[in-house]
Amino acid sequence: MSTKSNEQTKTAGYETFEPKILVFCCNWCSYAGADLAGVSRLQMPSNFRVIRVMCSGRVDPEHLLKGFSLGADGILVAGCHPADCHYIGGNYRTRRRIPLLKIMISQFGLEPSRLQLEWISASEGERFQQVITNFIQHIKDLGPSPVGGG
């Protein structure tokens, strides 16, 4: 197979590439935000699966690494805005965890932007829609994850 036809195959693959996206939402803010986006009938791509956790601080690095190892193309962690955490400081732990994890997954050769942390409150349905739409578009541009069973 020539290089050119190889490239064509790749491009063709990207056009049809539908990423697998995992979204961790905290129970008190972001899940309610996602719910609001849903009941408001805001349109967004359907590539993502939401996992509700009690707090973004509950999201262990093991959950995220397991997600990537099973073939997730991108993972979004959503929690309450700083100073809004239901548990006072859970999101501050997340706020340390995700940036350090991004540095670490880049050492594993994974693009750090495949992991994203966003603050979404219960009233921000529109923001949830925008964040999800932008993130999925970004992952589509990046292409399939180089690790895991994907």
């Binding site: 990537f68 700083p82 670490m104």
Partner: protein, 335 residues
């Protein structure tokens, strides 16, 4: 029982320290000699692979395998010894979860060859001559074991009955294991359940003697940057200690020598990924104050960037058994 049991010891990809640790059990070695005949031990005794090949299947009571599966020879010997042994024991951090050689999973065979045989400053090799697995010379064909791209552990390839972690396993752990085998041989006491890790199920912090306080680090120090207090928790002093994410059973040897734990006992039974576990523990106590909401994302990045080389720090002994197992290379990349 009159008949002695047969023990084999073998090294895969390893430094040899595990074999020395076996010799280091002092006078206990006499008890071992009374109980067992050593039938194969490349570092110390002159048996050949052909001697092992000539044995019946299952004839060796117990093979103590240390080291990783780095090349074709390691894998061949692991399979051969498994076939000839009733019990197979992964001995030491490398055999259990990759150890220091496992860190080679940040690169691959090509990367290693280029670094070692071309790119190091002390290497003068303009023709890039590298060892070949097969070469024809006038005298005939010479062969060498071939490196794999990825370091794996012995239980990734063959059935393993017990795991004895540690770099190297302490005398106590070795004697606990050999004691269990001796009790089985002499008194018929049942062996531990298959898959048992011969160590504690708790974390190192549980057996650490130091005084622990409410944890909140203001900054991270590398061990050479401060004088570590001998009484206070090392992590409380700002030096990364892998105690919270590491299995106990080593009697806190490094802690007692006033050095932080580096994680050689591997993850606890409750988690899969030692690095993720430590990352979670450390980031929960990393300079979180009442002024947190005033910090920008850049400030946060600066705080977490104090951790130099998170992969090498958190997975120092367990990269091949981490959830991601190895770094992405051109070959493994999906793009």
């Amino acid at each position: 029982m009159a008949d002695k049991i047969k023990i084999a010891l073998y090294w895969g990809g390893t430094c040899g320290g595990c074999d020395v640790a076996v010799l280091d059990i002092d006078e206990n070695i006499l008890d071992v000699a009374a109980m067992a005949d050593i039938v194969f031990w490349p570092i110390a005794m002159d048996f050949k692979v052909s001697d092992v090949e000539a044995m019946e299947d299952g004839e060796i009571t117990c093979t103590i395998y240390n080291g990783v599966i780095r090349n074709t020879e390691n894998l061949h010997m692991a399979k051969l010894l498994r076939q000839k042994s009733a019990l197979m024991v992964a001995f030491g951090s490398c055999a259990c979860f990759g150890g220091i050689p496992g860190l080679a999973n940040v690169t691959d065979k090509k990367g290693i060859m280029e670094k070692v045989y071309r790119d190091t400053i002390s290497t003068d090799n303009p023709d890039f001559v590298t060892p070949q697995p097969v070469i024809e010379v006038p005298e005939g064909t010479l062969t060498l074991p071939d490196l794999y791209d990825t370091v794996t552990c012995v239980d990734d390839h063959v059935d393993v009955d017990y795991f004895v972690p540690g770099c190297p396993p302490t005398t106590n752990l070795i004697m606990t294991f050999l004691g269990a085998v001796a009790a089985f041989v002499n008194e018929g006491t049942p062996l531990p359940p298959k898959g048992t890790v011969i160590a504690s199920d708790k974390t190192l912090c549980d057996e650490c003697p130091r005084e622990k306080k409410e944890k909140m680090l203001t900054r991270i120090y590398r061990p050479h940057e401060i004088e570590i207090d001998r009484e206070e928790c090392i992590l409380d002093q700002g030096v990364i200690c892998l105690g919270p994410a590491t299995r106990a059973g080593c009697e806190a040897k490094c802690i007692n020598a006033n050095m932080p734990c580096r994680g050689c006992m591997g993850p606890t039974a409750a988690v899969q990924d030692q690095g993720g576990s430590m990352l979670a523990a450390l980031t929960s106590i990393l300079n979180i104050t009442d002024h947190e909401h005033e910090l920008s994302e850049e400030d946060i990045f600066e705080i977490v960037s104090q951790v130099k080389d998170p992969l090498g720090t958190f997975y120092r002994f367990s990269m091949p058994k981490s959830l991601l197992k190895r770094s992405v290379t051109e070959k493994s990349g999906g793009k």
